[in-house]
């Protein structure tokens, strides 16, 4: 069994790549068959990922070395808790997004649907590849594929504005990619290896100028995708893409690939100790902290619902970056878990925004008065996501935020505790009024009950329940919390088995 599971990571990558080929070949004429490929691939992918959970928790590291792709560097896959956690959330949410996207794309009579579903599948292949990469070169290979494959989705609308945003997107993505390649070349020059090692493999012998150069190149490379200010401006613009893309890629897969890059960088390349000693941790934490507050403030000013959610994403991604940069086990645990909880909550909000748009054509917060009467399920789900992001107990966001807060106390950096608290309030201030407006203000426009299609409402309900479950019983579904604990244990050596 374990022998077989060694191939699971590769299969998990290939299954959506196959779908990406099958989708355009099937084409618009057989669109039900075409959508079957997406659904089938997403379910298979999640099954493959989930099949590895027990083994990985028991200490197994599944993986294969495919071929030597450069002198001394293999194209290699290895499944560890960190990659598994990200892969679990991305592949599970892809199933829901697949259903949702069918409802959205058909409901909105979108153009070029084959290209859309095909590229989405490529993105998922690349994301899972990023999760399971055993070394930096394999990582950057998938990272670049992800960057390029997202581009056709960003310009999907085909308007002049979409192309302009697409250009901006590419400039950011290519810059990030090449910065990474440069950083990797430096690391290889210094150490002669690129394999991820829990606890890191760089050492202080390389000298401070070299280490800082490496850090800056990587910070650019990952910071762009993770939306750390001042590298965030592509992300709100990229919301021009269809909402399923905003929901899955620009709240979960693509942006978290950047965050996950920071996890790899701090935990598996530099190692927490060196990262703290050289002083990079506090720099990264400062940028992240500033991003959290600024993004929340900007979010309050946005009337466009997706733009508001985008800035909220920018802020929440930096929660995770902050948790990593604090370097203490509690904060890292919070960060790891926030990767999952934020994914569940934010995708719920985006799904709701998309459902509202397709069903009523409304994009702006100010137009949503009384819409709760028309779409109560959607708006209830929105409410759960909103209070969860603000950190209210019983929703997943509370758990991760709790550990982040505890971590900033542990790290004796109380300013970041302040940042987290302020940001919680700001989150409530820019999200909760949307819900109250929807339910408590009346409007002539939404007299009767009428939800969007079941393809859209179904996934919304599932992600809402997921957000709640993560808050009530964090380890209840798929062992997300245990996997998060396992990450921190492998990086820091601190065990949570006594109860955290």
């Amino acid at each position: 069994m374990d022998q077989l599971l060694n191939w699971a990571p590769l299969l998990a990558i290939l299954v959506s790549a196959l779908a990406a080929v099958a989708i355009p070949l099937t084409g618009e004429r057989n669109r039900n068959l075409r959508e079957t490929w997406t659904i089938l691939a997403s379910i298979l992918k999640f099954g493959l990922v989930a099949s590895m959970i027990p083994g990985v928790l028991a200490g197994q590291r599944y993986g294969v070395e495919l071929l030597e792709i450069a002198p001394g560097i293999e194209l290699a896959l290895r499944v560890d808790p960190a990659g598994l956690l990200f892969a679990m959330s991305a592949s599970f949410l892809w199933i829901l997004t697949s259903f949702y996207a069918i409802g959205y794309m058909r409901g909105g009579k979108e153009r070029k649907q084959s290209r859309f579903f095909s590229m989405l599948a490529v993105c998922l292949s690349a994301t899972i590849g990023i999760c399971f990469s055993a070394n930096l070169l394999t990582f950057v290979l998938f990272y670049e594929i992800l960057s390029v494959a997202t581009y056709p989705l960003v310009i999907h609308a085909g308007s002049e504005k979409a192309y302009r945003i697409g250009r901006q997107y590419l400039v950011y993505a290519i810059t990030a990619g090449i910065a990474l390649v440069g950083g990797i070349a430096l690391i290889y020059g210094v150490t002669g290896t690129l394999d991820f090692v829990p606890g890191g493999f760089l050492d202080a012998g390389a000298g401070a100028p070299m280490l800082w150069t490496i850090f800056i190149l990587f910070a650019i490379g990952f910071g762009v995708k993770a939306g750390v200010m001042p590298l965030q401006s592509w992300l709100p613009n990229a919301m021009i893409a269809p909402t399923p893309v905003s929901a899955l890629l620009h709240a979960v897969a693509v942006v978290k690939a950047g965050v996950f890059g920071f996890v790899r960088l701090v935990g598996y390349v530099f190692g927490p100790e060196l990262f703290g000693d050289m002083g990079a941790a506090i720099v990264l934490a400062t940028f992240a902290g500033a991003t959290i507050v600024l993004a929340s403030l900007i979010a309050m000013t946005k009337d466009d619902l997706k733009a508001r959610l985008a800035y909220s994403t920018v802020g929440h991604l930096s929660y995770i970056v902050l948790g990593i940069a604090l370097l203490v086990p509690q904060a890292m645990l919070g960060a790891a878990f926030h990767m999952v909880t934020h994914a569940a909550m934010k995708i719920t909000l985006f799904f709701c925004a998309g459902a509202i748009y397709i069903h009523t054509g409304k994009k702006k917060v100010s137009q949503l008065d009384g819409i709760g009467r028309q779409m109560p399920i959607t708006m209830a789900a929105f409410g759960v996501g909103a209070v969860g992001l603000a950190g209210v107990p019983l929703v997943g966001g509370f758990v991760s935020k709790w550990y982040l807060a505890a971590g900033s106390v542990d790290a004796e950096l109380l300013i970041f505790l302040g940042v987290l608290l302020v940001s919680g309030l700001l989150n409530a201030a820019y999200l909760v009024p949307i819900v109250t407006r929807a339910f408590f203000r009346s409007s002539e426009e939404h007299p009767r009950f009428g939800e969007a299609s079941i393809f859209m409402v179904g996934p919304i309900v599932v992600t809402m329940l997921l957000s709640l479950l993560l808050g009530i019983h964090p380890d209840g579904i798929f062992g997300f919390f245990s996997v998060a604990e396992a990450i921190v244990e492998s990086v820091t050596g601190v065990s949570f088995s006594g109860g955290g």
């Binding site: 618009e28 071929l67 030597e68 792709i69 450069a70 002198p71 909105g108 009579k109 979108e110 153009r111 070029k112 070169l137 950057v140 290979l141 670049e144 594929i145 390029v148 056709p152 310009i155 609308a157 085909g158 308007s159 002049e160 504005k161 192309y163 697409g166 250009r167 590419l170 400039v171 290519i174 810059t175 990619g177 090449i178 910065a179 390649v181 440069g182 990797i184 070349a185 430096l186 290889y188 020059g189 210094v190």
Partner: protein
């Protein structure tokens, strides 16, 4: 087996002659003979490559039975096998592509084009196979003359651009020949193996230094190393696609090969790096050339001129590998010879296919090609991903090795140049991609989603679609090559290139 080194150019020369004679009677027969010659030489090259790799030994052949250094020797070693396989491969691919393209672009001139193509490939293969510095000059001129002939059948500006190229080429050849003369008077031999034995004692000899400088300058002119590139854009702009498709991928590379050969195997170790700062000079010129070529490529509106300026930058990657003069850097440069040959060949052939179908050569007119020629444009995307250096295409790996080489050499400015140039090539290549995948006749004003539903109706501006198979198959082969060479680049490195750079140590 031992005849392989001589067989490759001989087959091609024979094919050129027969093709001309037969072509006067029947164009088809002429084409067929030339294609056969190219195909046979490719097969022989592959055979030689396998033999060299499996035995680990170079295959040597003394022309006419005259033992070197008296006679001329042909040597198929790892580097030569690498180059001839590439040259004959590109040759075959372009030959398959040629008939339809020539028929369209230069009607009535195909009879003379086929022998010229065979002659060009023969000259280039000969340059890489010969073990004699003077004989290299002979083949260089054979290739050059064939290239002039091919280029001159191009468009209206073609003959004039070719004349300029001819003058420059003659100057380059002249410099090289002068250097060979100096070398012969100092060392008394022209055989490369012999020279490498004799030259260590002559390292301080002024005549030898002058010889080296002259030879390298001559070859650098031919290689279009910045700032000696100025002949190239006009030539490519006016060339028929088959000429550009042969010359851009392999001709400049062979001159780069000749410099690498002199550096590694003829002149003693340290001569190009310490006695004379030749590699460093080439490196700095290349760094400048990379930036210059990339920036000017951005400014071009004509597809072929853009490719030409991009070539100025890309050949400089090979030069940068020479400049780094360490094993991993030079491996990057050598690998880029194959990578760029595949990618640039691909892009030129696609340009020709687009021209055949739509008559378009300017980038702003390329709107909507993604819809009318979808498969060609998928191949195009692979080509540009390679040019920008997105993994897993071949282009990524050569740049990665060059970066590793720059780190090892501590060449931080060159490191930065490679990084910046990737961004610049992203700018000019993605600009074309965006144009291609726009809807034809799309209203430049905002198109909102509400109108999106109607957008799927195809209003084909160019009803003819992808090019005919004889043109598309070469394109598909090259596109597959860009990816395969990337994925399996380490196979090439471990089988061939590590042996090639062995003289550098490490």
């Amino acid at each position: 087996m031992s005849q392989i080194p001589a067989l490759i150019p001989t087959l091609l020369l024979l094919a050129a002659l027969l093709s001309l004679l037969a072509g006067l009677k029947s164009q088809r027969a002429g084409y067929f003979l030339a294609l056969m010659g190219a195909g046979a030489s490719f097969l022989v090259s592959v055979l030689g490559l396998v033999e060299v790799v499996s035995s680990g030994q170079a295959i040597r052949y003394a022309m006419g039975g005259w033992i070197p250094p008296i006679g001329i020797e042909f040597v198929l070693d790892h580097l030569a096998a690498y180059m001839t396989t590439l040259i004959t491969f590109i040759g075959v691919v372009v030959f398959i592509y040629a008939p339809r393209s020539l028929h369209f672009e230069s009607p009535g001139k195909a009879t003379f084009a086929y022998p010229s193509m065979a002659l060009l490939i023969a000259g280039l293969a000969g340059m890489t196979l010969t073990g004699d510095v003077f004989n290299l000059y002979v083949f260089l001129e054979i290739a050059a003359l064939a290239a002039y002939a091919l280029l001159a059948i191009g468009e209206r500006g073609g003959p004039f651009a070719t004349l300029r190229y001819l003058l420059i080429g003659a100057a380059g050849g002249g410099f090289y020949l002068l250097g060979v003369g100096f070398l012969y008077f100092s060392a008394g031999t022209l055989n490369m193996a012999d020279l490498s034995g004799l030259l260590p004692e002559l390292m301080e000899n002024r005549a030898v230094m002058t010889a080296a400088a002259l030879m390298v300058v001559g070859l650098a002119l031919k290689m279009a190393l910045f700032p000696m590139h100025f002949w190239m854009p006009d030539v490519y702009h006016n060339a028929p696609t088959v000429a550009a498709g042969l010359i851009a991928p392999i001709m400049t590379k062979v001159s780069a090969y000749a410099i690498i050969r002199l550096f590694l195997d003829v002149f003693p170790p340290g001569f190009f790096t310490e006695t004379l700062p030749i590699t460093a000079t080439i490196g700095w010129l290349s760094a400048a050339g990379i930036l210059y070529g990339s920036i000017l490529a951005i400014a071009q509106h004509d597809y072929r001129r853009m490719l030409a300026y991009s070539s100025v930058g890309q050949i400089a990657y090979v030069g940068l590998g020479i400049g780094l003069a360490n094993p991993i850097g030079l491996i990057g440069g050598l690998l880029h010879i194959v990578n760029h040959a595949l990618m640039k060949g691909l892009l030129f052939l696609i340009g020709g296919a687009v021209r055949l179908r739509t008559g378009v050569t300017r980038i702003p007119d390329m709107k909507g090609l993604g819809r009318s020629m979808p498969w060609t444009m998928y191949a195009f995307v692979i080509g540009i991903l390679g040019m920008v250096g997105i993994p897993p295409t071949a282009g990524f790996f050569s740049k990665f090795y060059l970066l590793l080489g720059a780190v090892e050499a501590g060449a931080w400015i060159w490191f930065a140049v490679i990084i910046v140039s990737s961004l610049l090539s992203a700018v000019y290549f993605f600009r074309v991609t965006e144009m291609i995948f726009r809807d034809p006749g799309e209203d430049p004003a905002e198109t909102s989603r509400e109108e999106g539903g109607e957008k799927d109706e195809t209003t084909p501006d160019h009803p003819q679609g992808d090019p005919p198979a004889s043109m598309f198959i070469p394109i598909a082969i090259l596109a597959a090559g860009v990816i395969l060479v990337g994925v399996f680049n380490f196979v090439i490195i471990s089988a061939l290139l590590e042996r090639v750079v062995a003289p550098l140590g490490g």
